[in-house]
Amino acid sequence: MTELSSVRVEADDVFEAIELYFRNGWTDGLPVVPPTESRVAEFLEACGHSGGDIVGQVPERRRTITAEKLAINAVMAGCLPEYMPVVLAAFQAMCDPEFNLHGSTVTTGGPAPLLIVNGPIARRLGMNAGVSLFGPGWRPNATIGRAIRLILINCCGTEPGVMDKATIGHPGKYTYCIAEDEENCPWEPLHAMRGFEAADSAVTVFAADAPKLVSNEGGTTPEAILDTIAGTIKDPGAISVPATGDFLVVHSPQHRGHMIDHGWTKRDIQEYLFEKTKLVEEDYYRGGRRPMRARTEREWPVPTVEKPDDFMIMAGGGPAGGFSAVVTPWWGRVSRAVTRKIEG
């Protein structure tokens, strides 16, 4: 068994241990599974790491994170050992400077890292990509996302209210993990559009606001559906508009069915949204929004994103209902979505 170096804490029984973890500030406000040495060792084995292997760093906070600490927090979150490769790849993606772990988890803007899992591992683990996509009920979605939050709190110093200064925040800060519905959609999957093989498993991490539901039950053409979505993307109250960045658009089976029937691909959707989300001055100022500082030199129209590829399009959601979802980014280019291959 791997030698584990973490300090041991003792309790008479599991219930006392759960309370001890609360008292020590080691939870997200919900009870955790108390991590035993043997369980943590199983998790390490599942991702092929020794406890002492360094898996990430947060230089702004002078923290070096080992596989052992990742495994401990994954156990606490209620994961199974086979989820570890996803937790590991997601955390490593978050340590990419492009993601800006520090900035995106201290900010008053209050985003949460959204994990989008693609490839065979999502199906092997039984991840939900369909009905109630962002909702409860599927262990891998719920616990992998929760593991990331516990890692942020316990390993990265993101103590709520202390380092984490979100003004409002959102419920995705408990857990925020979905999979793409690759089985029920002919479109190219998200990770393939971002440079990976479709046969690979990969996770995309995205510092994201809460999902916004876009309802268009009557629309039966790509243009009608996408015009409604474009209106939601151009929301003047969205923190990132028009600072540019990445947006996620999730199309349910009903919406994407209409687009597929018309021969539209994800690329067609990206191009259309790029044109339809350019902001003119009155878009920006409607609703009373004012810039944080004078922007006298801005030339309108301003694209919401830098290039069509920055709209991440994915298939997800349940079979009934004319709905899509728009997930807005935290602060544009200051944090970018990062995709990383899941090994194992």
């Binding site: 080992t66 800006n100 500082r293 200051v334």
Partner: protein, 100 residues
């Protein structure tokens, strides 16, 4: 009824402590007169307004020789090493401000 616990159960600490090193504060200046003062704006909305006014006061009241204005490209990231090194090389003292 009391339950006997012949042996405590052991669990693992999930936290990572920061690796801290003790550093001493830079020597304090006796006076600002004739010194070069850097004013670092973190790029929030009103940081520059505060710093510009401060620069005027520093010259008028404290006879500062020179003001070096600098700004972070975004408040969403810490200052880059190159920016910090440049200010260290050029300034006797640096003041930073965040103004929303």
């Amino acid at each position: 009824m009391t339950v006997e616990h012949p042996q405590k159960l052991a669990f693992l600490d999930p936290t990572v402590a920061p690796s801290l090193e003790a550093v001493s504060a830079a020597p304090r200046l006796e006076s600002l007169e004739g010194k070069v003062v850097g004013l670092l704006d973190n790029s929030k909305g009103a940081g520059r307004v505060i710093l510009d006014d401060l620069g005027v006061l520093l010259r008028e009241r404290y006879r500062v020789a020179e003001i070096v204005n600098a700004g972070k490209p975004t408040f969403g990231r810490v200052a880059a090493d190159a920016l910090v090194d440049d200010l260290v090389a050029r300034c006797d003292v640096v003041i930073t401000a965040l103004g929303d």
